[in-house]
Symmetry: C2
Subunit: 463 residues, 2 copies
């Protein structure tokens, strides 16, 4: 039995590890486009901030660790064609030599590639011009070289999502003046604007110049540096800096599977079922290149490292003949921005409306632990519940680093996983000790506040 796997990031490596864990006799070959399998792409901003060094420590596991599990790595090898009928994978090495890898089962984890969001110039300008994206170790080395050799003093970051915010912090920490451009009305658009505003304030407090409602049309290179042009609140807007980092999302990297006959679904990602089958015989796929089964939304596209790990693990198990099923994402995410942490799980109100729910939301502030014990901070918590049956649909939190926001969101994620009502959250037996909580934990104080503020008559806590 030979499983070939394309992709050395979360999905591919998870699949390979799972297959080898379950069956020490299976042959597993992982085809990796670069020399950097199993690197923590999520950790790259912390390399630039100086928190992580050297860059090698960003590897979840070294190549030697991976090969010690019994998998074979084919590094610097690009998968170029899948011969579904013949069960052959065509690959090309760095000198251009093409060869075939025969397989019994194939798992595709080709991930996603940075989007250029229609911005003119992004496809033409590159690292040599001072225009960067950040999605691979190659991108990392290019930016690192730029920072070392050209010591830019100013940077424009296009985008204020997770990576954009983390990079705003990292570049600011290095003494670079950062202008952060965000298309929408508030940064971190995965949260409601009232919570995003807390992150906005934190950025400003640390010297980042934030320009929301700015639509970037083009990036051009001129004698004074790189010029980003577009509109801000409908008016012409232009800003020049030494360096431009475009982090405006990703698009699924699907060409290999599409050429082989796979179907596309939500977000133009490859359709898979919950077992990670593509529909092509003996071909599985997982990770940022495939659609996401969401427990509340059904089929969507929501690329996240955690999901890639789960999907990859399932593909690895099922390629061996298993029957694992992906239980579905809730879009749980967390990000640290300077001294704050933001987290979310489930749906926000507009997402819930689009999915056919009848949501209502309420925001509360609750101390992370008893205020009498030093170091207590309020956490801002926004709860979205369904008006008809009071099911908990989503939660968003912003709190000071150290207030256990990211693990508190996990309680909500586990609750939504099980379809709990907002009121039933108060039935959970959560831990309490004064330095770390309250008799009603902050997550329960927020759900009780939702009930008080959204219903005329408080309903039973034991609904």
């Amino acid at each position: 039995m030979h499983i070939a796997i394309i992709g050395g990031s979360d999905a591919g490596i998870s699949a390979a590890l799972r297959a080898r864990e379950l069956d020490p006799n299976v042959d597993v070959t992982v085809v990796v486009a670069d020399r950097y399998p199993n690197f923590s792409i999520c950790g790259i901003p912390y390399y630039f901030s100086g928190d992580v060094k050297p860059w090698q420590s960003l590897a979840h596991r070294t190549s030697a660790d991976l090969e010690a599990t019994g998998m074979s790595l084919r590094l610097d090898t690009l998968a170029t064609r899948i011969d579904v009928a013949g069960r052959n994978l065509e690959v090309r090495d760095t000198v251009g030599t093409t060869s075939l890898i025969g397989y019994d089962e194939l798992i595709v984890g080709t991930g996603a590639v940075p989007s250029s969001a229609g911005i003119v110039g992004l496809d033409e300008l590159g690292p040599e011009d001072g225009v960067h994206v950040l999605h691979s170790m190659g991108d990392t080395f290019a930016l690192d070289r730029h920072l070392d050799e050209r010591t830019p003093r100013t940077a424009i970051i296009i985008g204020a999502g997770y990576v954009g915010l983390e990079m705003a912090e990292a570049l600011s920490v290095r003494g670079i003046h950062v202008t952060q451009l965000q298309r929408g009305p508030e940064v971190l658009s995965t949260l409601d604007p009232e919570l995003g505003a807390l992150i906005h304030t934190e950025l400003t407090r640390h010297g980042v110049e934030v320009v929301t409602d700015s639509k970037v049309a083009s990036v051009t290179r001129g004698p004074d540096g790189l010029t980003v042009a577009g509109t801000h609140l409908g008016q012409p807007f232009e800003r020049t800096a030494d360096l431009v980092l475009a982090v405006v999302g990703v698009v699924p990297n699907t060409s290999l599977l599409v050429d082989a006959g796979a179907r596309l679904g939500a977000g133009n990602a490859v359709m898979v079922d919950e077992t990670m089958r593509t529909g092509l015989p003996n071909v599985w796929a997982a990770g940022d290149g495939v659609i996401t089964h969401h427990r509340l939304l059904g089929l969507t596209y929501l690329p996240l490292g955690t999901t890639s790990h789960k999907q990859g693990r399932i593909a690895g198990e099922n390629a061996l003949g298993g029957s694992a099923r992906f239980a579905g994402s809730l879009g749980t995410q967390a990000v640290k921005v300077f001294d704050l942490v933001a987290a979310r799980t489930g749906l926000r109100e507009h997402e819930a409306v689009a999915a056919g729910f009848d949501p209502i939301s309420a925001t509360a502030a609750a101390d992370d632990h008893k205020a009498y014990f030093p170091g207590s901070h309020p956490i801002t918590i926004r709860i979205t519940g369904n008006q008809s049956d009071h099911s908990l649909l989503g939660a968003q939190m912003v709190g000071t680093y150290g207030t256990e926001v990211s693990k508190r969101i996990d309680t909500y994620a586990t609750a939504i996983h099980h379809g709990m009502t907002v009121e039933a959250i108060s039935e959970l037996d959560l831990s309490y000790t004064p330095p770390l909580g309250s008799p009603w934990d902050a997550v329960q104080i927020a759900t009780q506040a939702w009930t008080r503020s959204t219903t005329q008559r408080v309903v039973s806590a034991a609904v």
Copy 2:
């Protein structure tokens, strides 16, 4: 409608707040034995450590806050008799005057009292002798006076449970040499000894002298101070110190309800059903004086502040005519001891065996966040699962303060609440960002390790 409530601690005040929240027209009278309603008894050790000052800040709410909600407080008033048939509560004030309070519904939250665990001398010696317990603000003031006026240099703490450990830290921080005596083989006997040993090492590292396997028989007062005598590993043992603090558990305070005809159950606590009915007409009870409905154990006695809050809230709602039901405890607890935090939820192996399960346990270490980001620490996690159906029965954790142990235990608590299998924990969409987690969170790494180490053949992750 008039609801009388006996007890100004967690259960009584929670009941009063809930009744007033649900019905602003109901009259609520809370009879409080001392002058300190709604004080955080769990916070007392932090007053002694100096973290909390002044003592008034230990109040969850002031008397004025409470009365602002519309409840009436009868402070310094002891409930002496319940006339069930006549719906009258007899009370006595501090000068000995007896009076009757008529009620429509009565809620009893008389709590528990410190146990003397059969130790000779504990019932006779008191604060004036240098022998203390710690269960009320009165006890707090007595110990405070002792520390201020007599500046003891040495202390013996009998017991190494939550309060005992917190007080070992508090007195050590004040420069007092602490000897901590523990009956069993390891401190913090609510955890398995291999995890308790981590706490033991932490105590020793901070100068606390820990003597396990020590059975205290007597406390006597002599010219050189207080002598605690008994056996250590079967040999005679004696130790003398300036101060003795006995924190060896509590017994439910039930005389009022027993005299009124209530039945006792587990742990000699008052029997109540999930609605907090005592079985006596119009009499409800909640808190440390009543039995605990446990989701895995059925009826038991497990006094915890979090449970008292929940039970009190339910009693307050149902006394008004509601139909709330206590969903059951899982015994979730957390404690900070110097730089470590320990937490647990659900059952340990011997508890699970006693309850008819077929448990097996495994211990793993998992980093609280990606090791490449500064400040990462391994968390020791012990998972207990049922061999027959792989249901998660319990989890115990010990980690450095700051590793979000107490909120990670909540994920397990929520999972056990819903009867999840050990393997299904890997299906949960938990948050990840490198400074605060891993793509598989520590709670998932531990459950995956349980499966690997306890089953011959790894079963599907999607059981």
